[in-house]
Assembly symmetry: C2
Homo-oligomer: 686 residues x 2
């Protein structure tokens, strides 16, 4: 460890730069857990880096941000540098772009800028009538020094400047001397000297920090979860991948771009669960797709009733043609009938009687599920086999995985698996389905999961939503955790959805789709407003698809299909909604109304969302906007264009009236239009 | 770097524990800059350590805090362990005592508690009527395992318990089974098993963190700064160390325990400054003691007019007899006449004409001062020579150094110097006199300075004081920076002191002595209320002692001597005032009144301070106290005993009236007395 007392006075060479280096670089941001973890970005984003940089005394400092693609590490010529600028109070900043998926690294370097210090001081002295010929000599020597590192043409220019400097007259009043010197020591010359000056005793920041860059879909996606076995058009027939194909136009029309399928593998028979989690299944009961494995195969096989591997590949290809990607479920656990059980008993925890320990969370028992033992002696073989499952499905064309309960598997396993896969396939995305304690969820995100399920489903009031999304978007968490918002899942039917009716289904969808750039719904249950709970007080579905095949009438007139299509179109057409940055909450004087905006960095696209959280009554209030922050002229009227109803309102000033009837549409998604034409504009038809 | 992808699948042995270790330890506190710097404590303090500790899944976790004296590092038998306990939300805590000056280290270890998990689960199962004989077998095997690591007698006990467990009857209702099992699996047995159970795949926190422990004086001290040359009893005679000796009873009576002397070395003659910083000195002018070095010697010599080295050693000894320690000034810079200039020109920055660069901060020039060049090629010899200066004065009995302008010397130098000295002499204290930018001040504290001058002199309003001292005492800063509060110094006569008169001298002293456990004044200027500035708008003294000898009439009747004595006695007699922890500000409904309390951890000593910041008018208001936090019964009256006036007031409830006339004493220093006798007490005379 490098700490006090460790400056080796006898190690002559190695320590010279360190000991004589006078510049300190500290409090670098972003930096997650002392650089242990990468921050996340999507291709096309930029990374803003800040740090405290200072030295003893009064010397001027130069600092640069250095970055490179990780794959080029070790080739110094591929390092790029961006000069940093001081923001005040010893805080420095610079930014760099990340254009490709993969890993980038960055670090900082800073040193005493001897020429910069001299230039600043000589001008001060000249201003006080104190500049002396010896001062000019000092500067000229520094220029000479730079010239020795410069190529011929630049060197000649530098030497000429040094000569001129030596000969500058210090006669005349302070003003004219300062003017003379400033003219000579102009930005051009200073830049040239900076370029070739020696970085004497430079301080290199001791860490190289990582950026994990994903493809754009990581920044913004709309998921639709659907059970293939329920996708049949005719009631009573087991759905197939072909039925899923037939459903693609419906899903595409609603504007989703990811279709996530629960596990598609053979389902175990031993301890198979019946409808409504009945511990005993009847003869025709299909069981839970998460009880993976039977004599028909395991994690690399397909449940025969869904089709063949060729059918699956065709579905992947057809989806892609509709602009939809297939996401598969990675549920690393086995039914008692999984081939692994007989072939690899060493991968499971065995009891003193030789039997295998089923999953439990006492007193709850899950006898249809055997968890892997990630601590077992054969852990290397187990881990590698599980990785081969991921590779198998990558070979079938899958590039997105939704990971089931990652928080019940070893952290180290995920870190190893994800980084290994991503170093070869940087385009692969992993969504962590961990509904667990906050620190565990944050850790999984740090370990490499692209997206994370959130507590969104249980954040309902204005206060709850504001607190939670401020934490997710305005703190360090935003650097490594990408929230994925789901108003429902096959396991989660919140109380709110049970009792709020269609207005809540509409408002929760709009909240999910606009608070988060990544969101999803479990359908058709969602668009059809399925709200019957297993029992009063339970947040599970009655007749859950997890345990039985359901037939859904997607043509129903009360479907939210149309609204969902409009919301997703608003997302597609407004870059502000495609990122989790720049989310800001705004005041409304009604506790049932929540207002927030999202905007692009250049403020060319600003979207304001107002949602009525009360599913019963019309609510109205005054929204207060920080006009200048949103790029609006406070003295001009502006237009707010509702992307759901296509209505346009003329607003003026920071306070404006809104009124929302939940039985119509419980929200506005306003695009703010900076300038409104008036009769005074000549081309008001344009 | 250890980051994603680095789990080596092929390195068979080394990585096993790491990969299979499932517990995470993160967000450890205190930990300064990723463990780069030590936290500070004084002997007798304790260190409270907290961390986020969690694993995947639902298993129970065990965690321990490990600590050791740095000098015993490498001897595992000297590591001590404290079990940590969970506070909720995956946060764990433990604490350890530091009893001796020197360095301590600490780290954490955590692992899956297999027996603890089993015990918790089997009791839950039993409660649900689900416990099965196989569950008992699993537990018995875990106990067997522990027995194999235990010495004979404990092993026998464990084996017996395992046997009993195997035979426990699971017949009867849930209640009786739970009772039976809980009886067997009691705390005693659980503790024994914990002691011998295998820490399988334990996670060792990756850093060892340091505590720099100082002797008690680092926690609490009262300094008196005095120019020896002005200590003569007769006007016109140059003061000597013998005069300082004569002044000791005066200083001791006021209650100070450190006497800090500005530099005592020979003073340069070239460019010597005259009174009031006159660039030309007259023939009899003594010059600034900070212009160190003449043909009579340098940093290891004594200015002949002050006395001899024997006189100095006698002063050190005599002071110690009065309970006072001598602090010396370390001003690492030279007058043009310093022997180093001719003997070691290589230690200074030379100009193209061969002359040495004097100190400057353009357009200001300090031609009587040559700074060392810490970047020079002979830096090793320079650093070592400066260290030998410190060692020389340690040999003369000095154990406290006040370091002049450390922020204009290389950070690396201080880190090396202080850690080297302290590893040999842990009792040595260094006070950093850096009045500069916040990040530089904080860095110096991190590098090892025991104490730091602060911005206290310029924090005057209630808002300023509250903000600043909340930052110093309630944030991470409190772990490494010990504030040293000075209302004045020979260089600093604040505007407030210039215009506020005696009430401000009194209130600023009380604020310094009670807001900070370490404070000091520059006297006799302070107790005699010296307030004449060099010029209007300047914060420097007229006729500053820095440039001339002053004669002070310490017997003056308007001296603050008596008040200072009472304040220092209150500090001596109240442990609450001897620490910077537990400072809390309290509401008062008058902007001119500030109220705060300090208390010992056990709340046996609680001191409440109320200060009138307005030097002109009597101010009154209602102080609001959080009674329960201060250990007071909200339903009982309590006594507040003013340690300055010895008056006692009976207060009741959280809101009480105070009124302070600045022309009497502008503050209360109340000792809160928890219980007041009433006529209902039998022994009310006791």
């Amino acid at each position: 460890m490098s700490r006090s007392g460790d400056i080796p006075m006898n190690a002559a060479d190695a320590s010279t730069a360190e000991s004589r280096g006078r510049v300190v670089i500290e409090r670098v941001s972003p930096e997650i857990d002392c650089g242990q973890f990468a921050i996340k970005r999507a291709a096309g984003d930029s990374v803003i880096v800040a740090a405290d940089i200072f030295a003893d005394g009064h010397d001027a400092i130069s600092a640069v941000l250095q970055y490179w693609q990780h794959s080029t590490a070790g080739r110094p010529e591929d390092r790029r540098e961006v000069p940093m600028r001081e923001l005040g109070n010893d805080r420095w900043m610079a930014q760099f772009p990340v254009s490709q998926a993969g890993r980038y690294d960055y670090t900082l370097q800073a040193w005493i800028d001897r020429f910069g210090s001299w230039r600043r001081d000589v001008l001060k002295k000249a201003g006080a009538g104190e500049a002396a010929p010896i001062d000019l000599l000092v500067g000229a020597e520094l220029i000479d020094e730079a010239s020795r590192k410069a190529p011929k043409s630049d060197a000649a220019r530098l030497l000429k400047s040094a000569k001129t400097l030596r000969e500058v007259s210090l006669d005349g009043d302070e003003g004219s001397v300062v003017e003379r010197l400033s003219g000579l020591l102009n930005e051009d010359l200073t830049g040239l000297i900076w370029k070739y000056s020696e970085r004497r005793f430079a301080t290199a920041y001791e860490k190289e920090l990582a950026v994990s860059v994903d493809r754009e879909k990581a920044r913004c996606s709309a998921w639709y979860e659907m059970f293939p076995r329920s996708a049949s058009a005719e009631p009573g027939r087991h759905g197939t991948f072909k039925d899923c194909e037939a459903r693609l136009p419906y899903i595409a029309e609603m504007g989703f771009d990811v279709l996530y399928l629960p596990p598609i593998h053979p389902i175990g028979e031993t301890h198979r669960k019946g409808p409504n989690n009945n511990p005993v299944a009847g003869p025709g009961d299909p069981g839970s797709p998460w009880a993976i494995g039977s004599k028909q195969g395991g994690h690399k096989s397909i449940h025969p009733e869904l089709g063949t591997i060729e059918d699956f590949r065709r579905l992947v290809a057809r989806s892609r043609e509709s602009g939809i990607e297939i996401a598969l479920d990675l549920a690393f656990q086995c039914s008692p009938d999984h081939p692994y059980i007989s072939e690899h008993r060493e991968w499971f925890r065995r009891l003193p009687d030789g039997s295998i320990q089923y999953a439990e969370n006492p007193p709850k028992k899950y006898e249809d599920i055997y968890p892997f033992d990630f601590e077992c002696d054969a852990w290397r073989e187990l881990w590698q086999e599980l990785e081969s499952v991921v590779r198998y499905w990558i070979d079938q064309g899958v590039r997105i995985f939704r990971v089931d309960n990652p928080h019940t598997k070893a952290f180290g396993f995920w870190q190893w698996l994800i980084s290994g896969i991503k170093s070869e396939y940087p385009e692969v995305l992993f969504l962590a389905e961990a509904f667990t304690r906050p620190k565990v969820m944050y850790r999984l995100a740090k370990l490499g999961f692209t997206h994370s399920y959130t507590y969104f489903a249980w954040r309902n009031t204005k206060w709850e939503l504001t607190q939670y999304f401020t934490e997710l978007s305005q703190t360090e968490v935003s650097e490594y955790l990408r929230p994925h918002l789901w108003p429902n899942t096959p396991d989660i039917l919140t109380e709110n959805l049970q009792f709020g009716g269609r207005p809540v289904f509409a408002s929760r969808l709009i909240l999910a789709a606009t608070l988060g750039a990544n969101y999803g719904i479990y359908g058709p249950a969602y668009e059809l407003g399925e709200s019957r709970p297993l029992a009063p007080g339970r947040e599970e579905y009655l007749d859950a698809e997890k345990y039985e095949i359901r037939h859904w009438d997607i043509e129903r007139l009360d479907s939210l299909q149309g609204l969902i299509g409009r919301v997703n179109r608003a997302r597609r057409e407004n870059a502000a909604l495609q990122s989790d940055r720049n989310l800001r909450f705004h005041a409304v004087d009604n506790e049932a109304l929540i207002a927030y905006s999202k905007s692009t960095d250049d403020l060319l696209n600003v979207v304001l969302v107002v949602v009525n959280l009360d599913p019963h009554y019309t609510r109205s209030g005054w929204v207060v906007l920080p006009l200048e922050e949103l790029g609006l002229d406070p003295d001009q009227p502006y237009q707010v264009h509702d992307l759901l109803t296509d209505l346009r309102y003329l607003w003026h000033g920071p306070r404006n009236y809104v009124e929302l009837n939940p039985h119509q549409i419980p929200a506005h998604i306003f695009r703010l239009r900076h300038r409104v034409r008036t009769e005074r504009d000549f081309d008001y038809f344009m």
